[in-house]
């Protein structure tokens, strides 16, 4: 869906992007991850032509973005930034309805859609539609930003550290909301962040960048299991195995209970990492797994977790 071919961006002598090639499939969430200054935001902004590459091509749906009028192009791409950029002189409803208005939708259509979007991001339209940006908390404002980006139902979303400006608990909620929305809407998403945990949590594939180049481009499990370069290894840090385990569900590691009565249990929705943490806490070698009703449905052994965690080929 989105293809970047050898994209280069120079500012005078400085090369912000040194020939980046990337392909994002339809319906996937790809995260551009990396330290400050690695070029991830620059790369993101070449997709909606806020930045014009010095060399290389950007294609969306097979078409070179330079063929389209840049204003038209941007109306078909949802764009969310860290500082949100809500318009202070417009109400929440008017903010969300901005792109539909640019696309000349009728007023009733715009308002209905805006209310629908607000509900979708978890903001009750009756309460929030008439409010102004200055009356919103950080988390609420960021949700409005997301609603605004989704209002015209664009196939592509560009998100530049959208959850960076809020506190950690709110950030978690927003990430969960985003994942819920994505499972519903299946947009093609390019997401920029410097937070490894965030990237591992929400992405289908992670593109780890450094100094304008792609270091590794893989699914999170693959990236965490097999870091290809010393930079990647260092970036992922010593806890990467635990991080990888946070994406592993218990279903594949469970055994039938067979009459065992384990000392402690965890719900079946937990991740392998949480199971490991519980095993450490209780100091035992196996944990019971319960369903919604609290009934024991399986057993997880330390050995199974260790086997999963192992990087031995």
């Amino acid at each position: 869906m989105i293809r970047l071919e050898q994209v280069v961006k120079r500012y005078g002598d400085f090369e912000a992007l040194r020939g980046v090639s990337l392909e994002v499939d339809k319906g996937q969430v790809v995260t551009l991850l990396g330290p400050s200054g690695c070029g991830k935001t620059t790369l993101l902004r070449t997709v909606n032509r806020l930045i014009e590459p010095s060399a290389g091509t950007v294609r969306i749906g097979g078409r070179d973005v330079r063929e389209l009028d840049e204003v038209e192009l941007r109306r078909g791409i949802g764009y969310v930034i860290q500082s949100i950029g809500l318009f202070p002189h417009m109400s929440v409803l008017e903010n969300v309805a901005v792109v539909p208005r640019l696309l000349n939708w009728s007023k009733p259509q715009r308002e209905a859609r805006a209310q629908e979007m607000l509900a979708m991001v978890g903001l009750e339209p009756r309460t929030y539609a008439g409010r102004y940006p200055r009356e919103l908390s950080g988390g609420q404002a960021q949700r409005v930003g997301l609603a605004r980006a989704l209002a015209a139902d664009p196939p592509v979303l560009l998100l530049d550290e959208p959850f960076g400006a809020v506190d950690p608990p709110t950030r978690e909620h927003l990430q969960d909301e985003f994942m819920r929305l994505q499972s519903q809407l299946k947009k093609t998403v390019l997401f920029v962040t410097h937070d490894l945990d965030e990237a591992v949590k929400i992405s289908d594939r992670i593109c780890l960048m450094n100094s304008g180049q792609v270091e590794q481009y893989d699914a999170p499990e693959t990236l965490l299991r097999n870091p290809k370069t010393p930079f990647v290894q260092a970036f992922l840090g010593p806890s990467r195995t635990l991080l990888r385990l946070s994406r592993v569900a218990l279903d594949g590691l469970m055994e039938p209970p067979d009459g065992h009565h384990p000392k402690a249990t965890i719900p079946h929705t937990a991740t392998a990492r949480e199971a490991f943490s519980a095993l450490l806490a209780y100091g035992c070698r196996s944990l019971g797994v319960t369903d919604e009703a609290g009934q024991l449905v399986g057993l997880v052994r330390l050995e199974a977790l260790l086997a999963e965690a192992s990087e031995e080929p």
Binding site: R74, G85, P88, V98, V99, L158
Partner: protein
């Protein structure tokens, strides 16, 4: 806030009372046997022995009171002061003939200043209701006619018709200049805000401001005089149309040449627009005579033409500066989001940047308007009329009351304009949520 005998004394209230008390010791009125003879000063104690003590007590009460009570005491002070002035005028004038005059003295003005500061202090404390007593007391005083025996009022009676005409001319000149300053200044401000390469715009505006007004008038007079006698109206119009076309062509080739061409033609267009706008708004009729030199259409070397040109140029800086600052103050995040969502530059400007810059633009209008009302006073010097006419006549003829007849309305107009626009700005800010 200091404590005096158990009462809280604010600095502003204290200042107000101080001024009022000081005024009691200074002469309030000057008695002159005729309009232009020198005056003999009289303090309030010379025509009343008891009431000034009451006034003193009232001043103290205004200083030591708070909130609504302060408003009440201020109103009472204003009433008593006004009444005493009226009494004084009566008492001093009665032994003399009709030609005698009584003028306000230092104590009169100081009392007014004290009242103004007092009301400011009361308003600042947050009690809007306190201000009500002011207009009420003034209305009562006017109804009693306490000021009617004072010199400036008598001058007004004598010159009533001309006063109305000159007031109208003053307003139409100021309005025309401000309107033109907006028409010219807003685009200039937008240009200046485009980027650091346009900072020369602000520099040019600042330079204009440093030229003394009289000097500017003096420079324009001979230029306009020659031009208006030599050039015919249709020629001037044709020149402007042709100039506009050439400008467009030249802009693509060399920007500097284009600006060089635009400058004199732009000024000519400005003069013509100013004179005709003023004629539309003001008491003097609009005349357009084709096949005749410009001066037949009202554009002369002296009078409205150079006046309105100079006034517009002076009013430009506040407008341009405020448009520039307003646009620069738009949050960068909003701009980035707007662009990223697919707003064209025009849409971004009209839907995001301008609404957010509007409060500051209004501030610029306020600054330009009050500035212009003041400078228009000098326009009378070059024959454009306006309230400066009275000031000049009064100075030339040695009649201070006539000077006041010109000066007081100008001050009141400027204050009124300032208050109105300030209030409009507040309302706008609320509506826009900034």
């Amino acid at each position: 806030m200091r404590v005096v005998f158990g009462f809280r004394l604010g600095p502003a209230s204290g200042l107000a009372a101080g001024l009022g008390l000081l005024a009691l010791g200074l002469p309030w009125l000057e008695l002159r046997p005729s309009r232009i003879a020198p005056g003999e000063p009289f303090g309030v104690w010379s025509w009343q022995s008891d009431w000034p003590w009451v006034l003193l007590a009232l001043w103290l009460a205004t200083a030591l009171s708070r909130g609504r009570w302060q408003g009440v005491w201020l109103g009472a002070t204003l009433l008593l002061w006004g009444w005493l002035v009226g009494q004084g005028a009566e008492a001093l004038l009665s032994p003399y003939s009709q030609s005698a005059r009584v003028s306000p003295g230092a104590g009169f003005w100081l009392s007014l200043l004290g009242l103004y500061v007092g009301y400011f202090a009361a308003w600042h404390e947050g009690r809007g209701w306190a201000l009500l007593s002011g207009p009420l007391a003034l209305a009562v005083l006017l109804w009693w006619g306490v000021f009617e025996r004072l010199g400036p009022f008598l001058e007004l009676e004598a010159w009533r018709e001309q006063f109305t005409t000159e007031l109208w001319r003053h307003l139409s000149l100021s309005t025309s200049a401000v309107v033109l300053a907006l028409v010219l200044g807003i685009p200039l401000g937008v240009l200046a805000a485009r980027g650091p390469r346009f900072s020369w715009v602000l520099g040019a505006m600042g330079f204009l401001q440093t030229i003394p007004s009289l000097a500017l008038f003096g420079l324009l007079l001979p230029l306009l005089a020659d031009l208006s006698q030599a050039m015919r109206l249709e020629v001037a119009l044709a020149l402007l149309v042709a100039g506009a076309a050439v400008f467009r062509l030249l802009w693509a080739v060399s920007r500097w040449l284009a600006v060089l061409l635009a400058l004199p033609l732009g000024l000519l267009a400005l003069v013509m627009a100013g004179v005709w706008l003023n004629a539309l708004l003001g008491p003097d009729p609009l005349r357009l005579e084709l096949r005749a030199p410009l001066q037949e259409s009202g554009i002369r070397g002296i009078g409205v033409a150079p006046a309105v040109l100079a006034l517009t140029l002076y009013a430009l800086l506040p407008v341009v500066l405020n448009v520039y600052t307003g646009l620069r103050g738009v949050p960068e995040a909003a701009r980035d989001a707007g662009r990223g969502m697919g707003m064209s530059p025009q849409q971004l400007f009209w839907r995001v940047e301008l609404p957010l810059a509007l409060p500051l633009v209004l501030e610029g209008v306020r600054g330009a308007a009050t500035l212009t009302i003041g400078i228009t006073t000098v326009a009378a010097l070059i024959g454009a009329g306006g309230l400066g006419f009275f000031i000049l006549r009064g100075v030339e003829g040695g009649a201070p009351d006539m000077v006041l007849l010109g000066a007081i309305p100008i001050i009141l107009l400027a204050l009124l304009m300032d208050t109105l626009l300030r209030w409009a700005g507040l309302v706008l800010r609320q509506k826009l949520g900034v």
